[in-house]
């Protein structure tokens, strides 16, 4: 420690005061050992969450009614994914395109991943059956005008309310449904056997190969189909927000009986199987949580917090709001060193006095001993 004029300023690029030997490589090595012990220990003690992916076979047998009603909405293209709009269709039929005035990136980019639920979810899988009666039903549906199709759907939806459901079976009272019951029964049959899972994983958008692309690992169609379960989570059987108040963390019993109408969503929000021990819906901090009692991606809180109130909770452009809000908050975080006021907060909080306590004690002791000196 030298005396005389101040040997350093806090604005200096580097310290010119006292130094001590320090082995950075040893620090890195010790850090590696600490991380290794911690990670291996936690892995041995707790393992990691790996809940089995759900399938159409499970959906169609455990939530047959939900699967049937959802499939009808895919056939008449009234489902969430059929009416979503960009990027799946050029325009949203359900008015769900997000935007604030002219600010609507969804509209700017338009249709990028074309989805025609009738063709992609139903016709493509069913034609692979090679069943003449099913092919005829497809042709009959395609040949009918919109009013006729709508009439069939209305009649069928009414009939479904009095239908008899089993695990993977549905018996609808006879009526004028056109080809609908044939189509639904065929789709249900494919689903229960697992064939629908395989069929939907083909990339159907590329016709240049003259058929499905065998090397494909794109789950878009399948996951969008799942997402239409229970009318996109808005159905009557979907467990409502506030569910957590009356429930413990893990429910051991199914949320809804087989055939219930919101299978996919209730899996996440009601923990209908012990392995789904978390609550993953958006209004309960969504993806920040994890199944079971494992820690989730808690570092996404600066993003998911925007879904907990105001436009993020109830607005029609909640996602855009959350993304914009996150970006707006990120900018001052990124440029903090150059923002007057914000960059002075640490000095005002004086937390640094605790963090560098030893150093300040040293300086004050030396100052006391040599009033005119520096460090």
């Amino acid at each position: 420690m030298s005396r005389g004029p101040a040997p350093w300023k806090s604005s200096d690029v580097a310290w010119r005061g006292g130094k001590r030997p320090y082995d950075l490589l040893k620090e890195v090595l010790i850090s590696g050992i600490v991380v290794g012990v911690l990670v291996i220990g936690l892995s041995l003690l707790f393992a990691s969450p790996d809940p089995k992916a759900v399938t159409f076979a499970e959906w169609s047998t455990q939530g047959t009614e939900d699967f049937v009603t959802t499939t009808v909405s895919e056939i008449d293209q009234s489902s969430l994914s059929a009416t979503y709009g960009p990027p799946y269709q050029s325009t949203a039929q359900n008015g769900s395109t997000q935007g604030f005035g002219p600010l609507s990136p969804e509209k700017w980019f338009g249709e990028q991943i074309p989805i025609d639920t009738w063709q992609n979810y139903v016709v493509f899988p069913l034609t692979s059956l090679g069943e003449p009666s099913v092919d005829a039903a497809i042709k009959q549906w395609d040949g009918a005008d919109a009013a006729t199709q709508s009439g069939w759907v209305t009649t069928y939806q009414t009939a479904v309310t009095t239908a008899t459901f089993g695990e993977g079976t549905v018996t609808v009272p006879s009526g004028d449904y056109g080809p609908l019951d044939t189509l639904v029964q065929a789709q249900l049959g494919m689903a229960t056997t697992g064939a629908l899972d395989a069929a939907l994983l083909y990339n159907q958008s590329d016709s240049t190969q003259g058929g499905p692309v065998w090397y494909s690992n794109d789950q878009t169609f399948a996951l969008m189909y799942f997402g239409d379960s229970g009318n996109g989570g808005a159905g009557a059987d979907c467990i409502s927000p506030g569910r957590l108040a009356s429930r413990t963390h893990v429910a051991q019993v199914p949320a809804t009986p087989p055939g219930g109408g919101c299978w996919y969503y209730n899996l996440s929000v009601d923990n209908s199987a012990p392995r789904f021990g978390g609550y993953l819906a958006g209004d309960t901090w969504g993806i920040t949580n994890e199944v079971g009692n494992f820690p989730g991606p808690w570092w996404l809180v600066p993003y998911t917090v925007w879904y907990q109130f105001g436009p993020g909770l109830n607005g029609s452009s909640a996602d855009l709001f959350a993304m914009i809000a996150t970006a707006l908050v990120s900018l001052p975080f990124l440029f903090l060193p150059w923002i007057p006021g914000l960059r002075n907060i640490p000095k005002l909080t004086r937390v640094y006095r605790l963090m560098w306590g030893d150093y300040y004690h040293l300086v004050e002791r030396e100052q006391h001993q040599t009033p005119a000196g520096g460090v």
């Binding site: 990670v39 759900v54 996602d319 907060i345």
Partner: protein, 242 residues
């Protein structure tokens, strides 16, 4: 952040190097700001003695752990980590490495914030750290999707709305393993590594930020990041700012 090659051109000519030679410029820039004693130091200021300084290197080693376990997981594939205990163990190593990584990053951010570690021309050090964090968040998100289990299904199907809202529904399709795999296995880790490398280089370039001046001392302090004019050059090789 310039090496001011114009001012150094005469020196370059004197060394027989043609002015405008990019490689020579780069070498001069590198040797000016990263001489060996600064890049590979064997000493540190006396105040670098607290445990909180360790969290930067702990985060770094967590990232190394993520790369090692991630490469193994990629080569063995989802079937392996879903069906074998050894595969699940490596999946667990990766999972907990992520948790440790972000925990260390948050502590590191906290200590950097409360010590105003951007002082003294260290603004870019902070900014590169923040960019590392931002890219790491995207890496983590895509990691949850490539788990290829129920959590992946739920997160992909739910989070796609946010991507769609900002027009990225196809560029980052969270419902496609094909697409997300490219991001999570290659692009995003490279992004993290890139900004992490810059962050580390700038840490070595400016050194660890000194404490605020003690009250009652005659040490003059400035709260703001200093520009080149504020630096005290000359006697110390570290007295350079950018």
């Amino acid at each position: 952040m310039s090496a001011q090659p114009d001012k150094e051109a005469p020196a370059a000519e004197a060394q027989g190097v043609e002015p405008g030679n990019w490689m020579a410029d780069l070498r001069r820039y590198a040797t000016k700001y990263w001489p060996y004693d600064r890049l590979l130091p064997s000493d540190e200021p006396v105040y670098v003695s607290k445990l909180f300084y360790m969290f930067g290197s702990l985060a770094l080693m967590s990232f190394v752990s993520l790369i090692i376990t991630g490469v193994i997981l990629v080569f063995r594939g989802p079937f392996w980590w879903h069906t074998s205990e050894f595969g699940l163990f490596f999946n667990s190593l990766h999972f907990w490495s992520v948790q440790v990584f972000f925990f260390c990053i948050f502590v590191h951010f906290g200590s950097s914030f409360f010590t105003a570690a951007w002082r003294g021309g260290r603004g870019f050090t902070w900014m590169f750290g923040a960019l590392t964090f931002f890219v790491a968040i995207l890496t983590g998100l895509t990691g949850y999707v490539v788990q290829s289990n129920y959590g992946a299904q739920w997160i992909g199907q739910q989070a796609k709305d946010a991507m769609n809202a900002v027009g990225l529904g196809k560029a980052l399709n969270l419902m496609s393993f094909d697409n997300v795999g490219g991001w999570h296995f290659v692009l995003l880790p490279l992004g993290v590594a890139f900004f992490l490398a810059l962050h580390l280089l700038w840490v070595r370039r400016h050194g660890v930020v000194p404490p605020f001046p003690a009250e009652g001392t005659d040490l003059e302090g400035a709260d703001e990041p200093a520009g080149p004019s504020k630096a005290q050059g000359g006697s110390s090789t570290r007295g350079q700012d950018a």
